[in-house]
């Protein structure tokens, strides 16, 4: 591409700009090759990021600029927080080669338990919160036991769980809604970080957090690059690296300013960020994360390599249970009530998010960041379509097509690379 020999054979480039580009074609081609290699390896994820940006741009224009208004962005985060929490856990489950259909019902069950404990029995809410997470862990352990140790397929165990926990919710609440929660508990779902410092037009603490995040991100990127160089691995060329840093900083600044010009950082965003960092790290860098990928990729080979397959699967489901409980708590807090029909179809949204975000139906593939991106694609679609007045009937049709297109593109892309 763009080598001098080739330009000789072809008609000369029409514009001066193109000629200049050809000039340092050697270095650029190497860098482009590297980029292309990276892009191909993470095709699905890059594709989805681009799709997310395009969808957001489309609705930003279509809705006359409402989509990315600070208030709406804050809203978007809150609306989708519980699906995103579920999507993180679901991604891990799907990577391990399983599925969990019970998370919506379990989230409902936990939100009902929270309502009964806090509102009926006046249990202090922090204590109830811990108890609820524990309920999630126990429910996950229950399902994990049947899947990992008894050997019943996860589809069936969690289908049973879906009925079980839904029924449990209705028994618990006796078909009634329970509200309201105390202010402290509500904040989990719709609270913000407090205002501090002098009065500016922006939320000060948010600006500060934004700065810290930018600093950490930049330092981390530079350290990574240094280490890779020290280990003699391929790295992006200097110019591209600077461009990447600039892009990261620009994104962080834009996001920070958007949030800071409304109420600031939602508490639930902090929870999500924490989960993303922890699970991203565990799945990429921890031994147990590796074992999850290995199991999903080839269970027999993983087992013969000494991976404790049953224990890993069990823990994956315990983890899913805890995250489902957390999602249920956030949902209840945001709604300010425990309701019997909470969490309906949550499992389907979470599964769709994982698949849009790059999971493979046979397991072994996917990233936590992918799950978040997939969840956001769905979230922005939901929100954007509502803003421009598309009915929920058409919304479902469109979401269905998006899921099919995303996975179809992946299958098609893999076949092309494979052949």
């Amino acid at each position: 591409m763009g080598s001098p020999v080739k330009t000789d054979k072809n008609p000369p480039p029409p514009a001066g700009g193109a000629a200049a580009a050809v000039k340092d074609g050697g270095a650029a081609a190497g860098a482009a090759g590297l980029l292309l290699q990276a892009a191909r390896r993470n095709m699905r994820q890059y594709g989805m990021i681009i799709a997310l940006v395009l969808i957001a741009a489309l609705f930003q224009i279509w809705s006359g600029g409402i989509l990315l208004k600070p208030q709406n962005v804050t809203n978007l985060i809150g609306q989708n927080s519980y699906i995103l929490i579920l999507a993180i856990g679901m991604m891990v489950v799907i990577i391990a080669g399983h599925i969990d259909l019970s998370v919506g019902s379990l989230a409902a069950f936990v939100s009902a338990a929270a309502a009964v404990m806090i509102i009926h029995h006046h249990v202090p809410w922090p204590l109830a919160l811990v108890a609820c997470l524990l309920i999630g862990a126990i429910a996950g352990a229950w399902q994990g036991y049947f899947i990992a140790y008894v050997g019943i397929p996860s589809f069936i165990v969690t289908l049973a769980g879906m009925l079980l926990f839904r029924g449990g919710t209705q028994i618990f609440l006796e078909g009634q809604s329970i509200s309201p929660f105390p202010r402290g508990f509500q904040k989990i779902g719709n609270g913000f970080l407090p205002e501090v410092g002098p009065h500016t037009n922006y939320h000060n603490l948010t600006l500060l957090i934004g700065l810290v995040v930018i600093a950490i991100a930049v330092v981390q990127e530079i350290r990574d690059r240094r280490q890779q160089l020290a280990y003699d691995l391929d790295v992006l060329p200097r110019n591209f690296f600077l461009l990447k840093l600039l892009a990261i900083v620009a994104c962080c600044v834009a996001f920070t300013m958007t949030l800071a010009s409304y109420h600031g950082v939602p508490i639930v965003l902090l929870i999500l960020a924490g989960l993303l960092i922890v699970f991203g790290f565990v799945m990429r860098n921890a031994v147990i994360g590796r074992h999850v990928y290995a199991l999903g990729g080839n269970q027999a080979a993983a087992k013969l390599s000494g991976v404790k397959d049953k224990r890993v699967v069990f823990l994956v489901f315990v983890n899913m249970g805890v995250l489902a409980a957390l999602a249920g708590l956030v949902y209840a807090a945001r709604l300010n009530a425990g309701v019997p029909q909470a969490g309906i179809n949550f499992e389907l949204e979470a599964i769709a998010a994982a698949f849009i975000g790059g999971a493979s139906a046979t397991g072994g593939v996917g990233t936590v960041l992918g799950a978040i991106i997939g969840g956001l694609v769905l979230g922005v679609l939901n929100n954007g379509m509502s803003l421009v007045g598309i009915g929920t009937d058409y919304q479902q049709v469109i979401k269905g097509l998006v899921l099919l297109a995303a996975v179809g593109f992946d299958v098609w892309n893999k076949r092309k690379v494979g052949s």
Binding site: A286, A294, G297, A301, K303, G306
Partner: protein
């Protein structure tokens, strides 16, 4: 008997990189039982797949004449319509359907898509009578034994108006009684004018039923022997010895790296090891096997398909195969527990599988992560993997093992067989074992890569590790091993030191029926 029912002329079949069959000729006379013999990988199954249309016309060179007509089969259906039916070693029955349904699967008695059950059951009943089965045609196939299942397969073949029946290792999974019945049935079919091709490792069975034998070796026809030829005493000139000589008599054209063995104390021993089949729990797959390996020694295990070599290895390695396992495992004279894979790995045992695609590698993951998987703790601190260190380890294996790949982040599924095998070996060498069990480590890889892998194995032995080397290629065992055990039908049938081992000796022990 009349002229040939089948003539296969100059059949050549090439797979990418391998010539599986070259210029093979096979002639089967009308109404005879014709045996095909050869080592594993000699091309027997490939030849039968060419004949039955599994490899369609055009994918091979040469000519097939069946009952005087040229045949160009596009698929199995086309060959079945002419009356050529193959029964594979792994039975192709649907376990949860009835015997009758299985017999007519794909060939149902129906009018306009609606099955006529009465006709199906009646016809199935008469077919079962012909093969000597008394079970009801409505019995589920899962509920009858392997021997009877084999007979159902034959009934299925009869339903297709079979003229030429091909049996691939029909008695491999059967006990003596069932085997005898099956062979009788073949002889009975012969009376009714059905020709038969039988592939078998059991030479005593072949001697009993076959009229003639074609021997294949390395994808070529070596010779066709007439079993009815007699010497002046009236005995057959074709003895088992004679067949064995035909099967193994090849030049040693593989090269092996030089090695000066330095053999130490016994490092690894298995005593009285017995394993039952995971489903058919009455059947002993490994029966009372005892063996040992010294430090710095390479010990071979020879055996034909179904001898129980892999089953022995996998059951010792964390009970990864079989049920009802009994016996003891010793490491450096002390008895150890190897009930789970982590326990076995913890004691320094490594098992390199014969089936790297299914049991050895995560094909969708990259090279570095495959290499580190069985010993992640070596590149991790407090449960966190140091990816840079991991990549460095992979990089060092890439250069020492000569894995041909652009980077260690390449997906293993894209590598060639030889390079995949090097990744599996790297993985287990990285785990730092004392005992390595290598199961067919050079299967399906080219000669150059084989030499490299032999060198690696010799290096491991030179480092004082104990190596168990399972292989179907006798020259490879003779070229690499200090001592060779032979197995047949789950039992050890011999322990042969390097000095006295020849292919003929090994083959004689490998074809012994049930020990001595």
């Amino acid at each position: 008997m009349a002229g040939p029912v089948l003539e296969m002329r100059s059949i050549t079949k090439t797979f990418p990189g391998v010539k599986a069959l070259s210029d093979v000729t096979l002639t089967v006379a009308e109404g005879e039982v014709h045996a095909i013999c050869g080592e594993n990988g000699a091309g027997k199954s490939t030849l039968m797949k060419v004949l039955s249309g599994v490899y369609p016309h055009g994918s091979y060179e040469g000519e097939i004449l069946f009952r005087g007509e040229t045949c160009e089969f596009r698929d199995i259906r086309a060959s079945e319509q002419r009356g050529i039916v193959i029964i594979h070693q792994e039975l192709a029955l649907v376990p949860y359907l009835s015997i009758a349904e299985n017999i007519f699967l794909g060939n149902e008695h129906s009018t306009r898509g609606v099955i006529s059950w009465n006709e199906t059951l009646r016809h199935a009943g008469s077919l079962l009578k012909r093969v000597g089965l008394t079970d009801q045609p409505s019995t589920r196939v899962a509920d009858i034994g392997v021997g009877k299942q084999q007979l159902v397969e034959i009934a299925k073949a009869l339903s297709k108006e079979v003229k030429l029946l091909i049996l691939d290792e029909p008695t491999a999974a059967l006990n003596d009684e069932d085997s005898r019945k099956l062979l009788d049935l073949i002889l009975e079919f012969k009376e009714h004018g059905i020709s038969c091709i039988i592939i078998s490792h059991k030479l005593n069975e072949i001697a009993r039923v076959a009229d003639s034998i074609t021997i294949l070796r390395d994808g070529r026809t070596i010779e066709t022997l007439d079993m009815k030829a007699t010497d002046e005493d009236g005995g057959s000139t074709v003895t088992e010895e004679r067949i064995i000589r035909g099967m193994v008599g090849r030049d040693l054209d593989h090269r092996f790296p030089e090695r000066e063995p330095e053999i130490g104390e016994v490092a690894f021993a298995v005593e009285d090891w017995t394993v039952h089949h995971p489903i058919d729990q009455q059947r002993k797959v490994v029966d009372g096997v005892s063996l040992n390996v010294r430090r710095g020694e390479i010990v071979g295990i020879a055996g034909l398909m179904g001898a129980g070599r892999t089953e022995l290895a996998m059951s010792v390695f964390g009970r990864s195969y079989g049920r009802g396992i009994s016996g003891r495992v010793y490491l450096d004279g002390k008895e150890i527990r190897t009930r789970t894979v982590p326990e076995a790995v913890g004691h320094g045992i490594a098992y390199v599988t014969e089936d790297r695609k299914h049991y050895g590698l995560n094909l969708i993951d990259d090279i570095s992560r495959n290499i580190s998987l069985s010993a992640l703790s070596k590149v991790a601190k407090r449960g966190v993997v140091n990816q840079h260190e991991e990549a460095r380890v992979a990089e060092s294996f890439r250069s020492t093992m000569n894995i041909k790949t652009p980077t260690v982040f390449e997906t293993t599924g894209k590598l060639s067989g030889g390079n995949q095998q090097k990744v599996v070996l790297s993985k287990w060498i990285f785990a730092g074992p004392e005992v390595l069990i290598l199961d067919e480590p050079t299967r399906g890889i080219d000669v150059g890569a084989k030499y490299e892998i032999y060198t690696v194995i010799n290096d491991l032995a030179a480092q004082g590790k104990a190596v168990v080397f399972i292989s179907s290629e006798l020259p490879e065992l003779l070229g690499m091993c200090d001592r060779i055990y032979t197995m047949s039908a789950g039992r050890l049938t011999g322990e042969i030191p390097r000095e006295s081992a020849t292919q003929e000796v090994l083959m004689r022990h490998m074809t012994m029926d049930r020990g001595n």
